[in-house]
Symmetry: none
């Protein structure tokens, strides 16, 4: 290896993370997350399990174009009693034609006996033949040794024999999996150390689950003991208690160890954004107390802490929040967001001088809106519009005078129970009042349709725009307080452009209209449409 | 010490946990949590900071009666330039008259220089004199060495001198605090080992924060290196990223180590309950993926995993869930087969024979509905209703005849732009037609309010039910196909019960109504309400 301290990051958010209860990625979700991971600088992105379900088939059918990462398909070693060349699962895996594959096989004798019910030597044949067969057509074959630690504790020689079979058959990485997540850090360190000594030359990886809340520590212990690949997920997504959280591991490795990963210092600043992007895609509230990237990770509540932090942030902060793209939250005089927000401006192509008078006001506006419930992490188009409006560069395309939406569930003339939504919209455009009416699949769809019916004759640019996702979250569901609704809308056009917008209001229809309005305005701005005013 | 392997548990939920953003305990909350901690079997319960705020003053004024735990008051060493006997903070601490006190003081030279701005020897005098003074009236004095690890890395001798001053002044425990939470497990193990060697005879404790997601691992590493007291909180509550999570540490110590704590096997079975009790008190949704106690901690989604778990749970479970009072959960998802669904029936208390004719039909129904877009994975209440309906055991409580919802955005008489939602509902109940109207924050909220207005006089059981979360997802956003909307609703009642329901329809209002209807029906079923028909 060129550099003994280089640790490779393998992201399994789209495969093992997809096993999380309540998580159901669409193909578009997978694409957006894969691209964010590539930009972040992880080394391997595992996309899913070809042949296992229609979503993964569609995703591998049109794989993302990566600049930095290698795309990995997941599968199993061949079934018992088949040749590797004739195994349908293995064929589906290899037909995905990814530069790397990760194949899982058993390494715990108990599992071979009970779950598979085959002989132990047959299991070793399955591993050896599958790895060798895959190696004929795939550049990089990895072997996930399932239940390696439980297996090693029960029967060290058999677990080693399984790993050795994969290594000798040409696997480029042998990944030691703590599948049940029950192994403690000192055990991981000892066992990895022994494997390192017994299979010298093998490149080892680690795959941990968080069932004792030690997945991050177990991964770090394994690296100290000799592994050089970490498998994990964004935000620790994964079945049961989740997988090792790459979002926590990356900064600990980069800022607190001598190990190196593929991210630059600049990449690391995207970390908070990427973490929240995943939550937005999953329509979940980000974990406020997440290490490094949580909203509260650098929040100071106690008065004594605040005054010490104002003297010197190192008094109560283990790192500078900006290093991971996060920011300090202090009730009084929060100045830390400024650099971050300026960086976000540059990201959307707005070159603003730091000393421009408008910047200070805009920073305040962003903070106020985030306090009110807006989330710009998953709504770049709304963020860009907010910034451009503050700089005076968004034309007035139209003005809404009023709308009315009606949803009715009733028996129709054929005796069927139907629900209909109908919207009436009045807008002002070029000094005229335009009134349109339309039906839809629900109030927001009806409103969207009526609005565009009014606009389309004046702005034919809107013809190929469509709403592709709509997410709602209630932000303060405690009894006794008024709930605020946040709506996120994703739009797309025929040129393949996708953009996300956000609206916040006590009324969900209001919030939806705000997000819709931003979506349409952004499209008009990007198409270079002329103002109507 | 009687037993070298006995580890003492010190709970700081009511003190350091109270620093969490958004957490605000009442005196009754503190009482309920303290009593639960005493029943659980922790050794020390830190109740708060006497003199710091009215809640803590009231709580210490009428302290809980404990059977097993020792009650601890928290405070600071004396201020610079005062005598210990004349320090108001120290007096407030001692006036609480608890059997034990925990006093915090500085041990990092940088903090003494920058945050306090006093001489280093003055800081050591403050520690020694405060501990000695407290020892005159309190049975057990503990010293929290704030920032010990950062201090030790910067100036090991000074950090040791601070700890030594407390020890020599009579502190029964010297607690090494990783206040900023930035220390990694291997560093904790090394530093604790050195302190153990350099202050032989001292009883050491550890106090970790989770800023690198290693608080649990750091605590375990410290115990291995010689500490015998762990300070932590329930569910890892605490400022920024939280404190070490006792709920994860307790079972790891009891089930996976040779160390002993004060809990019996029977006590351990309360763990899941105590963890959720805290969340109920805080009105937060429990973390589904929490180690040991999370709803998903023993959930199995993949079909291969489920069939292995049914053969022998040890195949994919690191401990028996019953040991910590949790339970196995077979998740219904598109990856599940017949075995999965049958297992799930048993779990909701439906004893169905595998060869019952209704089962085959029900399995088909579940698959068809999942194909249509239903997700039962996060909507257990809807799944249970689906199964019970198929078996004919759900009474008809009411029937919806029709509804109409209107959302209007207009200028009101005060010249403000407002959006109003108003719903009209007609239901049939006991042969009567009931018609109600209500307004709300949006169409679904208005519909919910109108529906319950009609039902409440007949079903007072619904009085304490409320909607706590509402999620919307568009399922087939590909061009050319009709989009399907899936709505998931989470409801709660005052008994702390939470249940989730799902609705699917091309119309979002329809889908919302379906989920609402299931939520209400489930509540009526569980309350044993009588059918109206």
């Amino acid at each position: 290896m060129a550099d003994d301290n280089r640790v490779y990051l393998f992201d399994s958010t789209l495969r093992d993370g997809a096993q999380t209860q309540g998580v159901d990625f669409s193909v578009n979700d997978k694409l957006a997350i894969a691209q964010a991971l590539d930009r972040l600088g992880v080394d391997y992105v595992e996309g899913g399990w070809p042949g296992a379900n229609p979503t993964d088939d569609a995703f591998f059918g049109a794989p993302p174009a990566f600049n930095r990462a290698r795309f990995v398909a997941f599968g199993m070693t061949r079934r018992p009693g088949r040749s590797a060349a004739n195994d349908p699962g293995l064929n589906a895996l290899l037909n995905a034609k990814t530069p790397a594959v990760c194949m899982v096989g058993k390494s715990w004798d108990f599992h071979v006996d009970v779950a598979l019910g085959i002989s132990r030597s047959e299991n070793i044949d399955m591993i050896r033949e599958s790895v060798a067969h895959a190696g004929k057509s795939v550049d990089e074959v990895m072997f996930d040794a399932e239940h390696f630690f439980d297996g090693y504790k029960a029967n060290p020689q058999y677990a080693l024999d399984c790993a050795l079979a994969a290594y000798q058959a040409g696997a480029r990485w042998i990944v030691l999996c703590d599948t049940n997540g029950g192994t403690l850090p000192h055990e991981v360190e000892r066992i990895v150390g022994e494997v390192t000594a017994k299979i010298p030359g093998a490149r080892l990886g680690i795959h941990c689950h968080n069932d004792t809340e030690n997945a991050v520590a177990n991964s770090l212990a394994a690296v100290r003991a000799g592994v050089r690949q970490i498998q994990g997920t964004l935000n620790g997504l994964g079945e049961r208690c989740g997988n090792a959280n790459l979002v926590s591991l990356i900064p600990s490795l980069m800022l607190k160890s001598n190990f190196k990963v593929g991210l630059t210092e600049q990449d690391l600043k995207q970390l908070t954004h990427v973490s929240r992007l995943l939550d937005e895609r999953l329509n979940r509230a980000p974990n406020r107390s997440a290490a490094y990237v949580g909203e509260s990770a650098f929040a100071h509540k106690g008065g004594l802490h605040v005054s010490a932090v104002e003297k010197d942030p190192r008094t109560y902060e283990h790192i500078e929040p900006e290093l991971v793209g996060n920011r300090r939250h202090i009730v009084v005089s929060d100045q830390s967001g400024r650099a971050n927000i300026l960086a976000r401006f540059r990201e959307v192509g707005l070159d603003v001088e730091a000393d421009d008078g408008k910047v200070a006001a805009l920073v305040e506006t962003v903070k106020l809106r985030e306090y009110e419930g807006y989330a710009y992490d998953g709504a770049e188009a709304s963020f860009e519009l907010l910034a451009r409006r503050a700089l005076g560069s968004v034309p007035g395309y139209f003005r809404l005078a009023r709308f009315r939406v009606m949803d009715e569930r009733r028996w129709n003339v054929r005796g069927e129970l139907v629900t209909e939504s109908e919207a009436t919209v009045t807008i002002e455009l070029k000094g005229e009042q335009l009134m349109t009416v339309a039906t839809g699949n629900g109030p927001v769809n009806a409103l969207d349709t009526a609005l565009r019916k009014a606009l389309l004759p004046h702005y034919p640019e809107l013809g190929d725009m469509r709403l592709v996702d709509f997410k709602v979250r209630i932000l303060t569901p405690q009894a006794g307080t008024e709930a605020i609704t946040r709506v996120m809308i994703e739009s797309a056009d025929n040129a393949g452009e996708r953009w996300s917008t956000v609206g916040v209001s006590p009324n969900i229809i209001d919030a939806s209209y705000e997000a819709l309005n931003d979506a349409i305005t952004w499209k008009l701005l990007k198409s270079g449409a002329k103002s109507a005013e």
